[in-house]
Symmetry: C2
Subunit: 591 residues, 2 copies
């Protein structure tokens, strides 16, 4: 059985030593002092370690069962959900007007990492509700907000997102689900949606489905899509439950992982739905939620890496095989723990350097979302929009890779079910696919975000890098290990951007390199994070912080990232500038 321990110390370091959040001018951040965030993270940690983590394997083995139209979640899920709800975790960052606690989104992300590491499939039930709350909050009418938000924020109702249909995943223009206007202003929703996470389950009294559908006579393609609230149980004006709506779960998907979460075929048979926001503007409504949803998936990716790494480390410290090449380190034992072997360490350090850098990146992203929203800061909004495909694509690709590395640390044990590593691999795998495949993320980055505000946003990111390098150029301790490699990596990123600009007339040139560009970008971001973290640890040591081992370890881990992972930027640049020829050359039939 794998174990999990919430990395609250590392989180506090990022929040306070690196980001110094209490000094931030983002509204609400001033109150987030070390004791306060410590208390919140500790509470989340206890719940995660004691309640959620032990259910992770249970959920995987039992999966969900569809019985007479009702989905039964795995044993223990309902009780655990009750505890999450009682503790108020669903409303942590929700609007107090509707019963939320009004905390910054950053805290939702920090505690979210803890919950997701402990039990990703379970936490998806809450994650989907969080997204649905955001959608209704942003686009719903006052009446809709008053009716639906309080029970969702309180946790007695949950939410879903219904986009995909059998003939359309990425290309939502092909949607066939129909929404016909009724005389009372509501709509009659008919169609089939697939891959609906948490589409049906037994955790809540009601499920509020958000459904993309087309109103007949509207524009073709994505411009004719509208967004609807379609409750499982219709809700009377006073909030009391009405009739059962004509929608049902038609089947559960058999899948590689996240077995504890019900992935449903949803059939809408003339179900009653209510338009959210403007007619035909459903895609715009979806897009405004996308930043949070995608950051949330990026978080899932690295969070699986976090728990996988923890278990790989424990195994490497315990398992006795062979002797250190430089002489026995545990002569009293039949063999040394495998962590003495350089290649085992190489593997562990690669894992550690990624997950800690990823956390800093995700927290930074969350703070940008807070700044954009709470300070109405358009520049922060543009920057996070630029970074979102990187946060989603890079953190999930590398998060998955980290679970595979961690599994490898365990040798044969990693392949067996008992040790649990193989579940982290299977669960992490979906993060590279859903909420827009990582290929789509790279297309979004290169095709849409690079040109944001006429390129000003990406130039702003480059300025941010330059400013950091300039501000620290006298920091000799930081130079060789951090600033020099970051400068080299930034140069690779800029060269790639220049290559794209020089080939604007051939869109295939950029699109053949988009995936590598996303990774190149991700590495530069993590390089920046590590330079910031190393600077913070050096400053803490200089200021007499007594947790010397913590900071020295942080700096050493950062050096590992800069020396051994960051140089990947050169490979990605080489792939990009090799051009589109070899990618586009073959006829489809000749592959």
């Amino acid at each position: 059985m794998p174990s999990y321990s919430a990395p609250t110390r590392d989180m506090q370091f990022i929040l306070h030593d690196v980001m110094n959040i209490t000094a931030s001018d983002i509204p609400g951040y001033g109150e987030l002092n070390r004791d306060f965030t410590g208390a919140i993270l500790d509470e989340a940690g206890k719940l995660a370690e004691n309640v959620l983590a032990p259910l992770n394997a249970v959920g995987d083995r039992q999966g969900c069962r569809l019985e007479n139209g009702v989905v039964r979640t795995p044993d223990g899920f309902k009780a655990a959900y009750g505890k999450m709800r009682a503790a108020g975790w669903m409303g942590l960052d929700a609007n107090p007007d509707y019963g939320g606690q009004g905390m910054p989104y950053l805290l939702h992300i920090a505690t979210g990492e803890i919950f997701v590491s402990a039990n990703m499939a379970f936490n998806m039930y809450l994650g989907l509700t969080h997204g649905a709350i955001a959608a209704i909050h942003t686009h719903g009418s006052d009446a809709q907000k008053a009716l639906y938000l309080p029970p969702m924020i309180e946790g007695s109702w949950s939410g879903t997102m219904n986009l995909t249909e059998p003939q359309c995943g990425t290309d939502l223009g092909l949607i066939r689900t129909k929404a016909e206007p009724k005389e009372d202003g509501s709509y009659k929703i008919s169609g089939q949606k697939i891959w609906i996470s948490a589409g049906e389950h037994d955790l809540t009294d009601n499920i509020i489905h958000l459904v993309l559908a087309k109103i007949p006579g509207g524009p073709e393609g994505v411009k004719g899509i509208s967004l609807f609230i379609v409750p499982k149980v219709l809700v009377n004006d006073d909030g009391s439950p009405g009739a059962r709506n004509t929608l049902s779960c038609g089947g559960l998907e058999q899948k590689m992982g996240i077995h504890g979460n019900a992935t449903c075929v949803m059939n809408y048979d003339g179900a009653t739905g209510y338009l959210v926001g403007e007619m035909h503007k459903g895609m715009r409504a979806m897009f405004t939620m996308m930043n949070e949803a995608r950051l949330g998936v990026g978080l899932q990716g690295y969070a699986q890496g976090v728990v996988a790494y923890q278990n790989a480390l424990t195994f490497a410290q315990d398992r006795l095989q062979g002797r250190a090449v430089t002489g026995a380190e545990a002569p009293g034992k039949p063999a040394d723990p495998i962590i003495v072997h350089p290649d085992v360490r190489r593997n562990l350090m690669d894992q550690k350097a990624f997950v800690e850098g990823a956390r800093a990146f995700a927290f930074w992203g969350a703070s940008l979302i807070d700044r954009a929203r709470r300070s109405d800061d358009a520049e922060a909004d543009a920057l996070i929009s630029l970074l979102i495909p990187v946060l989603k694509g890079f953190l999930t690709d590398k998060g998955f890779e980290t679970t595979v590395l961690a599994q490898q640390t365990l040798g044969g044990s990693g392949f067996t079910r008992d040790w649990g590593l193989e579940q982290f691999v299977r669960d992490a795998r979906i993060t590279m696919i859903y909420e827009g495949t990582n290929g789509i993320q790279s297309l979004d980055l290169v095709g849409r975000k690079l040109g944001l505000n006429g390129g000003k946003t990406v130039m702003g990111f480059f300025d941010l890098l330059k400013t950091f390098l300039r501000e620290n150029e006298d920091n000799t301790a930081l130079k060789t290990g951090f600033l020099d490699p970051l400068k080299a990596a930034s140069k690779d990123l800029q060269s790639a951007a220049i290559y794209f600009m020089q080939n604007l007339k051939n869109p295939n040139a950029a699109l053949s390199g988009s995936y590598d560009f996303m990774h190149l970008f991700g590495h530069v971001c993590l390089g920046l994070m590590w330079a910031r973290m190393a600077r913070a640890s050096m400053a803490a040591l200089a200021a007499g912080d007594t947790d010397i081992a913590f900071h020295e370890t942080k700096i050493a881990t950062g050096r590992h990232y800069m020396a051994r992972l960051l140089p990947a930027t050169g490979l990605h640049l080489a792939r990009i500038t090799s051009g589109p020829q070899t990618v586009m050359e073959l006829e489809a039939a000749n592959f």
Copy 2:
């Protein structure tokens, strides 16, 4: 349901256009003309496509069941095994003196790829027997060979390898299984072995276990290990079945993949065993089989990539989503097939370029084993010993990666069980672990093989590269796309080797870079393979070969490898030369 089509055309190209095997001086190769190998590959293909591939998902879903000590294989496995046996596939490359067909090992590898792509878990039952046959053939007495080999080669008996115990996987010096001499010259074997593939099943009348055990009073550690034949059913001198031996399957491992193959806990309760070869020389006996066993696992890795790629390609050609950025390519359809999108192509080309290069590498490796064995060529033997860890480690890492890439091509469908891609990922994952984890392969490469024959062997490999480059330096068509990148990659490999030599006094320097060195080496090998293949295709075109599309596709695919995958050598070199500091710095407790 995934499908599979045996790549016989590609195999024929490697065997005849690239390797020109009939002109080889390796005994037995002269008879392998195009018609003959074509007929063999076609037969294997039919069996694989029609019988084995349809059972792949069945095996995954049903798994094996242990019932009262008997293991039941999945529905259809026994009938399929009967067909394989009836067609004589078990004895393809076995000694005719014992009923084999005496074909070169190369043909075993070529047909093996086909069988493994179709159904890896099923083919493991045969693969284990193949290894046991080789062990008995090489190290058994004449009487043992006469008694055990004919029914194993005929397929009515199968074989296994028993190495691992709960406290020892990699470090076999820790073995506790005991072999006590009995008066009749046999031994009493007592102990528990775990992770024994095909340890118990219902496909054959008898199972011949090869077991590593220690004879009391022998040397400590690996020097005191002996190898024993321990049959499930004892065999009388006339070959007739005797008493049931006191060994049993104590449990089946629950694991991530290869569910169709029984992974057994084997209990030896004073079972009767017979010494194979010399006392205490069991490790040496295992080592002589290791080249074949490891090449076989490397083959499993890329073979899963082959079938995964085939299915990704079909999906990409069929699935309609979005429009080509340069204008609709299927205007009559609701959307274009996704293969029009550059990033989908980038992904497919990376898959294709790897699996085709990997096949050439595996076939080359097999021919070196044939040369070493059939021509008693010590140089070929040394070269294949050098290449084996690369064949195993690189082809399985990249083979697994290819299944993940292929799964990604399918988007959400790739995560569902129906499409079968997720099974290829789960099955391929074990290849990076068993038969020596890939970390151990890299240790073998750097710690043992680089110094083989005082470094002469690796110098011989460099000479081989140089000779190829020199012989083709006037080939202008080959220069930019193939020779130049191969030269650059070779230089990276040599720089890494020089770095290791310069740091001989610090073994951690080499061992911290061993994994990257293995990948660097693998890329250079595949670069060489692609240069050879491109040369062969160019020559075929120049000679008027009418299959123009085939050869042009081959050259284009090779160019993709050289331009987009081979540059990874630079990254691996950078990681290696960054040195051991960041890998070795942290105390184990501070991770």
